[in-house]
């Protein structure tokens, strides 16, 4: 039996993920020591209430409310508190006390990433965060290391399991958003307050992290355009289905040109969009996640798996922990984040994509020409126009598919349509992605 040295690991947070991490650390202590080259000694779990009920039965003496003392004696700190404070302060304390850090905290990285990366680089600390995006799906290390020599052109990510469950259910059952959300809540896929998921905040944080990695550019979450799924109707999903599309909430990170200057730039945005059913992302069902990466040399790649869950996320945390221990034992500093490119992040208005616009119009001669003229006047090129049968009230429904157009031009077009007397209402505007 090999005698391994011990590394002292402090766990901050004893929630769903934290208790699974602690359980796996204790259950697999010998195996993890052999893999990592050192015993991972769990010195304590900092929580708000040491007597709170846990998902997992863990030794009571491990729990403490004194996170700061726990950090002081640690070689490695695993931060699973979530949210911005006290997580930010504690992670900075850990780094500055000489510890390496593993975190699953997407909000923290998306908001204070630059400060944390800078602090880690100053002292040569490792800062690992595979669990922050895509739960158990390895996506951080593939982007940071395996693809470090390639040019990532675009990432389309289904990175929020709750909204994917809801949209998938709307697609397969015809449910309204409300009843699909109710089902998600009943199954534990949605939290009591689902705002962070359904309004796209969670996905926007992940988009910021993915864009930063993919484009070697710090993209703070404030620069991620965000729209949630609360505006998605059963009629939109049904209409997309009939046209061969499925509506997905996408986190999109794109390398593109500034339309005004022609300079290289990037965009990070989150919104519900129509995806062709032949696209691999269309087959991502339920609460699963997938990240589709388009790169210059590698071509199209996809990473797929469970995006959340205590054990699943704990898997990613433990992978980071073993990798960090290996490096800690071998010696040598952490590798600093690569943020040299400093590409500008485009405003949503400057981004181009394709659109499906549904409008109700008065069914009278010359209407089609008038509508087409409105699109043309704003520089939006129509690829396809379909008129459905008119109703008894003399109204017809038009579905217009555009070529790539600038977001601001499309917005102007929609405003002009809504103001035109032949238009009864603009029923739906959805972006089309993945072509």
């Amino acid at each position: 039996m090999i005698e391994y040295r011990s590394l002292r690991v402090a766990l901050l947070g004893g929630g769903t993920v934290g208790s699974q991490v602690a359980r796996l650390l204790l259950e697999h202590a010998d195996e993890l020591a052999a893999r990592a080259g050192a015993r991972i000694e769990l010195t304590g779990i900092a929580v708000r209430d040491v007597d709170a009920k846990r998902d997992v039965d863990l030794p009571h003496e491990l729990f403490t409310t004194d996170a700061e003392s726990l950090i002081l004696g640690a070689d490695i700190v695993v931060e699973l508190i979530g949210g911005l404070e006290p997580a930010r302060t504690l992670v900075l304390q850990a780094i500055n006390s000489g510890a390496d850090v593993v975190t699953a905290n997407k909000a923290l990285l998306a908001t204070h990433g630059p400060e944390l990366f800078e602090a880690a680089e100053q002292v040569g600390a490792q800062l690992a965060y595979e669990a922050a995006v895509g739960g158990a799906i390895p996506i951080i290390r593939p982007l940071r290391d395996s693809m470090a020599g390639d040019t990532v052109d675009r990432i389309l990510g289904i990175v929020n399991g709750t909204t994917n469950y809801i949209l998938d259910r709307m697609d397969t059952t015809g449910d309204s958003l409300e009843s699909a959300l109710a089902a998600a809540t009943a199954l534990g896929y949605a939290e009591a307050d689902p705002t962070a998921d359904i309004e796209g905040y969670d996905a926007a944080q992940k988009a910021a992290i993915l864009a930063s990695l993919a484009f070697h550019t710090l993209v703070p979450v404030e620069q991620v355009h965000r729209e949630g799924i609360t505006g998605v109707t059963a009629a939109q999903v049904e209409s997309a289905r009939k046209a061969g599309y499925v509506v997905k909430l996408l986190a999109i990170c794109e390398r593109l040109r500034d339309p005004d200057t022609g300079d290289e730039a990037v965009s990070a945005r989150v919104y519900p969009a129509m995806v062709d059913r032949a696209h691999p992302l269309a087959a991502v069902h339920g609460a699963n996640n997938a990240v589709f990466v388009e790169a210059s040399a590698a071509g199209d790649l996809m990473f797929y798996g469970a995006g959340a869950g205590g054990a699943e996320t704990a898997s990613a945390v433990l992978g980071d922990l073993v990798a960090v221990v290996r490096r800690h034992v071998a010696g040598g500093p952490g590798i600093a984040e690569s943020t040299h490119a400093e590409l500008p992040v485009l405003d949503i208005g400057q981004v181009t994509t394709r659109y499906a616009v549904t409008i109700e119009v008065l069914d009278q001669p010359g209407v089609l020409a008038a509508i087409a003229q409105i699109f043309a006047a704003h520089g939006v090129s129509v690829e396809q126009l379909e008129q459905t049968l008119s109703d008894d009230a003399g109204r017809a429904t038009l579905v217009i598919g555009t070529h790539e157009a600038r977001e601001s031009s499309l917005a102007d077009t929609v405003a002009a349509l809504a103001a035109d007397p032949v238009v009864d209402q603009v029923t739906s505007v959805l972006r089309v992605e993945g072509a």
Copy 2:
């Protein structure tokens, strides 16, 4: 403009991948320097014939036939010669001269992996090989780092693009193996001598590498059971299709119990198998690759993308190169391979899986009972038995689906079936995987 230090990189091999690596290194020199923290100075490309025609136009003065001299002055050696020798000798020379090594050589790793890992560990050299499996698909680092804290239970990999193209074409067009192979050759997906692909040698090497990583156990290619696709018939593919399955050549790495001792063990094997059309691997078309990983905590993951091609494989080589340069600059040794588990590799006869057996029998009373008795006598439990209409000659076709059974028991069953007077012939035996 930051002044970076230079690292001297020697490229061994100027073929399809090597010339793409050289092209990308030269085209993206500034960007790669900024990402890696050092300029990657390509000092030369060792080839057999400096005047041979290349896919890419590269400066003639880079080429040399003197690989050994090139290695001597290098900080990092990129080995893209392929095959066992002189690749093995040159990689060992590189390691022993103090260089880090990046290789895409699956044959070398699957055969001499232990020797190379040992040599690298002795001197603290980095040895990176993301490109050896799955072309551009990041799978080595995800398994080695991101999943280092989890227990991998099974890997099902489509890791050979040529055979996936052929089987996919047989499935979609009804082609025979011969005409699907001819199509693959015409499209450049199959080489003039397709033996390494269609006989499963390429997939077996990749299975050895994946199993070694996943199970922390050195699995040499000689211990990988290997069957190619040359025995797969259009009738088998058609019959599988009708039953809701697709035939895929799978590289299977499995953690299981020795059926005799109950001890923990592993299996690595390559053969064509039936996969349920609802399984994510069934949707992997053309020459694409995918690796499906089942892990205890992470659940099911899939990694998908182009499995071959010069630029695609070069992407993985460059990712490794940037990661190796970063560590070279930061300091600290390479991380040794984790091979501590030393689990026994089971013989194919000890492995259990499910089977679909097709036999032609005399259509007479008592035959079904006789057949069922043969299965039962060998301990193979029948899950499903379907008899098709008998033909004019008084023969019927039986398709028998089994529960999980031991490979040796199934072999004995098939031998007994073939010897029984009521059996005209055993038409097809295919394993069923992925359930």
